[in-house]
Symmetry: C2
DNA sequence: TCTAACACTTAACAAATGTTAATAAATTAA
DNA sequence: TTAATTTATTAACATTTGTTAAGTGTTAGA
């Protein structure tokens, strides 16, 4: 799915609009392990993932990495709080695979939004979806056991779960790698 | 703190704007235990809490109540996903105390936003703050023990924690009432 | 006021999860 | 490729948290 198809699913676009959008984004490639965004930076970009998987993580008070989200291809990614509030981010965004991004910076996104008003609607929908995702994540952490959380994750992200190192998934679920290893043994 | 003072803290207002805003909201009073919003309803209002404390909760697959958030006076409250996406809410919003609200419906909020453009900024800031709150909540549930979560809650919400029934706090923290009772004994 | 319903506490035990440490497997670098 | 490093698995044990059940307030109506 191209970026145009992804946006077109939410707000249907004319050919002219498609061209305007396409020209506003530029390609960026990263290798496995590279950080696209580092903590302390201002995140002034939003990106569409053409290829690969990203991990968003932050460091806790002991310096351990806590994985917040995984984003596979055909989704949009950013350090949203930083992008929206124009403050330094606490998050790191790391390429788990070799990845290909289509990026746009804040100014160009504003210009594009003025030229193509539908982009405003699309931005709102992206924000709303993220909001709903966070609500579901809170509900899950609050009221399900580790095994249920893992099984739910399997159902919803079965396609990418095998490509993500176990330790990252464990951190995402809020458990130790050893415990996740144990759960996997019991489930299979 | 009045609603005008609360908004004025975020976007400074002229006297005319203050009057326009004040006239757009209307008073609603509820008694302890009343539901302002019930699951299944469309939430078409946003409210400022003049007095009292609210609890937002939903029901899990077994019908148990899971408490998501507590909102004390001098904050704004809504079932945001429902309000934003105009879909039926899964949440219930309950008065823990006798409460007094200042409410505005979607249409009037849109009209007000057009008359007082700063209200757009205020709406954005409210959404951003909620977003940050949710991020912190995820981090807490993901990487802290129940005792740490309780102690953090004491630090940040010490003023209201004593007014909220223990069972609701336990559910909010993702633990059983018995376990919270045990933690309290150990801490004091 | 008395009683019934509900909320909170406590304790014993069970289940889930963390910790430590050792080993095996996989990946990376020379 | 081999050696070094990282990652994953396994097991024994410790700690945290859930479950059940009983007892003790507390509150709200009859």
């Amino acid at each position: 799915m191209t970026i145009i198809e992804a946006i077109n699913q939410i707000v249907s676009l004319t050919n002219d609009e498609k061209i305007l959008i396409e020209n506003s984004f530029s390609v960026k490639r990263l290798s496995k392990g590279d950080l696209w965004i580092k903590e302390g930076q201002y995140c002034n970009h939003v990106a569409y993932i053409n290829k690969g998987i990203f991990r968003i993580f932050y460091k806790d008070e002991y310096g351990s990495e806590i994985s917040c989200f995984f984003m596979p291809k055909h989704n949009f990614i950013s350090s949203y709080t930083s992008f929206l509030t124009q403050t330094p981010t606490k998050e790191n965004i790391e390429a788990i695979d070799d990845v290909e991004l289509l990026i746009i910076n804040r100014d160009d996104l504003e210009k594009l939004s003025k030229k193509v008003r539908k982009i405003e609607t699309w931005r709102r929908v992206i924000a709303e979806n993220l909001f709903i995702l966070m609500e579901r994540r809170i509900a899950m952490l609050q009221s399900k056991t580790a095994q249920e959380r893992y099984e739910d994750m399997m159902k919803e992200n079965g396609d990418i779960i095998l490509k993500i190192p176990l330790q990252y998934i464990a951190s995402f679920l809020g458990i130790t790698p050893q415990h996740l290893s144990r759960l996997r043994k019991n489930i299979d």
